[in-house]
């Protein structure tokens, strides 16, 4: 129903818009080419040497797909009519005329359609004039420039194949470099564990005779139920000499041993067991001194007899507190109710052994659960 004038306009619009599709596809392909070249450079520098033929084939595929996409997007009549309505002063006449001419609508308005055809036909020359005057810049300069810059850069980089790290590695592997020049892996956990195990075994074998010798007097005071092998301290534990001194000094006095090592006194109350042999022994409940640094105490004024009167008389003297005085050992021993176990004082053992640290962690965890 649309006459030849309208068809001519739609054909001109189709040529224009289809050409615009190709220009847009070329623009995209130019940007894509530049991106592919940069990608090739990155691959060449980071992973391994990129082949120029692969890059070129990718570019050909990109351009081919873009052109095929543009070719497949041939504007339809309705799209051309809509474009003419929007940009060429059609005022919806061309799309309405095309819609009515397709016969999809029953045209009951017998007068309207001839007037519409007449209106559209009269509008065609003006629309063609507008179409000729219309200038759509292709906007290809920037993508073209980008593609040239990227191509030059890629040519420069791809011409230097030795920059690829794989090539460097191959050269290093085939060269005369010694094993010391090879890169050392940062961490190898299994090997480190094996080395640590070997080192621990070596330390145990060297410490075992000395430990048994030094424990001989303590063993005389009380027999341990454990075999001698089980009394060997783990690697990294406190110095064996320290425990031996504790054992000697105690001489059957478990309180002294506990004071030395910071373990509860009842843990060594058993015949001849050394304090600190194992974390399980230390976890046993028993009486312990309340240490200043581990438990908050209420500081009271000293109530020592004989001294309080003098101090009350002279108010200028500074007051002393109970914790400044030595704690009587007999009271600690006679305390029937065992106090809560406390971790070793940080002041006594500036650096905790792993077993002590594990004990402290367990104690803190247990105290937290009790709360």
């Amino acid at each position: 129903m649309a006459d030849s004038a309208v068809r001519t306009l739609l054909a001109a619009v189709r040529r224009r818009t289809w050409r615009g599709e190709f220009v847009a596809a070329a623009r995209l392909a130019l940007w894509g080419t530049a991106g592919l070249m940069l990608l090739a450079v990155a691959v060449h520098l980071a992973i391994r040497s990129a082949r120029v033929s692969v890059v070129l084939s990718l570019i050909v595929v990109l351009w081919g797909s873009m052109m095929a996409r543009a070719a497949s997007r041939r504007p339809s009549d309705s799209a051309c009519a809509l474009w003419a309505d929007r940009y060429l002063g059609g005022a919806s006449a061309f799309s309405t005329l095309l819609e009515m001419s397709h016969g999809s609508h029953i045209v009951a308005q017998a007068q309207a359609l001839p007037w519409l055809e007449h209106w559209a036909r009269a509008r065609v020359p003006h629309s063609l004039h507008l179409l000729e005057e219309r200038r759509d810049p292709p906007r290809l300069f920037r993508p073209l420039l980008s593609m040239f810059v990227c191509a030059a850069f890629a040519t420069l980089v791809l011409a230097l194949p030795n920059l690829a790290p794989s090539a460097r590695q191959e050269r290093a592997a085939s060269g005369t470099s010694t094993s010391a020049d090879r890169p050392v892996p940062e961490a190898e956990p299994p090997v480190t564990a094996e080395l640590a195990g070997e080192l621990a075994r070596a330390l145990r074998t060297t410490d075992a005779p000395r430990t048994s010798d030094r424990r001989a007097p303590a063993a005389g005071a009380g027999k341990s139920n454990r075999p001698s092998g089980s009394q060997v301290a783990p690697s990294g534990a406190a110095a064996p000499g320290e425990r031996a001194i504790g054992g000697k000094t105690a001489g059957g006095n478990p309180v002294d041993a506990a004071r030395t090592t910071g373990t509860p006194s009842t843990s060594s109350a058993g015949a001849g067991r050394d304090a600190g042999d194992s974390p399980d022994d230390r976890a046993d409940t028993g009486t312990s001194r309340v240490l200043r640094s581990t438990m908050p105490m209420e500081r009271r004024e000293s109530s020592a007899p004989g001294r309080s009167a003098e101090r009350r008389a002279d108010m200028d003297q500074p007051a002393t507190f109970d914790d400044d005085l030595p704690m009587p050992r007999t009271e600690v021993r006679a305390d029937p109710a065992p106090a809560a176990a406390t971790p070793p004082a940080a002041a006594d053992t500036p650096r905790l052994t792993p077993s002590q640290a594990a004990y402290v962690q367990a104690w803190i965890r247990a105290s937290g659960q009790r709360r």
């Binding site: 809509l82 309505d85 002063g89 005022a91 919806s92 006449a93 799309s95 309405t96 005329l97 819609e99 009515m100 045209v107 009951a108 308005q109 007068q111 309207a112 359609l113 001839p114 007037w115 519409l116 007449h118 209106w119 009269a122 003006h126 507008l130």
Partner: protein, 342 residues
């Protein structure tokens, strides 16, 4: 391209006899005539012509002295329609508008009740200050507007055709008024705002209407048959699928719960336009197309008809009203957003 190029009347000999060409010519003549009488209100005159030929009723809002009554008189005189004027007051009764039965005695001595039609039986009814009438009277009038008939004592009386109500209301002095409810506002196809004339228009008024009343001297350029013919012709204007979709999108763009996020201008709207607004927009767009010399609707016709059709059919949120936003500003943003998506 400027708008004048797109609305240039076609003068081809083959189309000279077309009904669309005649309608287009008559509408342009009517507009030019009213523009000479009502100086400086070109957009108002175009919208008024559009509403009359689309078969709708018009609510005109403006300050006193801006020529609302003058415009109605001039329109009636130019179209050759009989017209009536109702000045609304709080004591106006429904029978004062629709008519009443009176007891009469014939010459032979027979007595009977006779129906005396009220002013609503005129073809063009000017209802001045409609918001001063009581809701009962307003309802009687609005029922006649919708049904185009009056039922009295069980007898239905058809209103004449064409039938158009031009109601005016004053935006100030709201004391003692009864604002029209939303349901009754929806009966009006257009709500037109009468702007204050520009300086040049004021100057021209002195030459046109200082000593004479131009509306009284107007000669009709059309008859009510012409009005009916053009009204019927406007219903045959082609509407493409794209324009139908655009009209639906326009109405949905005023809905705050239309499935999209309430962002942008629609966040100011509490209640959007009704489906009756959709019909009104399309009918008005058809008349605008004929005024532009076309037999098909363009999106620009929809855009031109949108504001007068929708401005009294939306309700703004209280927060937006307190921010000083009015319906015109909110709708302008809605229309801009709708147009940008086409």
């Amino acid at each position: 391209m400027d708008k004048s190029e797109r609305t240039t009347p076609l003068t081809s000999e083959s189309a000279a006899d077309s009904a669309y060409a005649d309608a287009h010519r008559q509408l342009l003549e009517l507009r030019a005539l009213l523009d000479r009488v009502i100086v400086g209100q070109e957009a108002l005159v175009t919208d008024l012509i559009t509403a009359v030929f689309a078969g709708g009723h018009v609510l005109i809002e403006g300050l006193p002295g801006l020529g609302k009554t003058h415009l109605a008189k001039a329109l009636a005189a130019a179209l050759g329609l009989n017209w009536a004027r109702v000045q609304c007051t709080p004591d106006l009764m429904p029978a004062d508008i629709t008519g009443a039965e009176i007891y009469t005695t014939a010459a032979g001595g027979a007595s009977m009740f006779e129906f005396r039609p009220g002013p609503v039986f005129a073809q063009l009814v000017l209802v001045d200050e409609i918001n001063r009438a009581t809701p009962r009277t307003q309802a009687a009038l609005l029922e006649a507007m919708q049904e185009k008939q009056v039922t009295h004592a069980g007898i239905t009386h058809r209103l004449p055709s064409p039938f158009c109500v031009l109601a005016t209301q004053n935006p100030i002095e709201l004391e003692g008024t009864y604002p029209l409810p939303e349901a009754q506002l929806d009966r009006f196809m257009f709500k037109l705002m009468v702007p204050y004339p520009a300086r040049e228009s004021l100057r021209t008024m002195l030459d046109v209407s200082l000593d004479i009343e131009p509306a009284d001297t107007l000669q009709p350029i059309a008859s009510h048959e012409d009005v009916l013919r053009i009204t019927e012709l406007c219903r045959t204007v082609l509407l493409a699928e794209r324009c139908k979709q655009a009209a639906v999108d326009l109405i949905l763009a005023t809905q705050p719960e239309a499935g999209r996020s309430n962002s942008g201008p629609r966040r100011h709207i509490r209640y959007g336009a009704s489906p009756r607004a959709l019909q009104a927009v399309v009918r008005a767009a058809r008349v605008r197309a004929v005024i532009a010399g076309r037999s098909h609707v363009d999106v620009e016709d929809l855009e031109g008809a949108a504001l007068p059709v929708l401005r009294h059919r939306i309700l703004l949120r209280l927060e937006s009203e307190l921010d000083g936003l009015d319906a015109d500003a909110a709708l302008a943003a809605v229309i801009d957003g709708w147009r940008s998506q086409l």
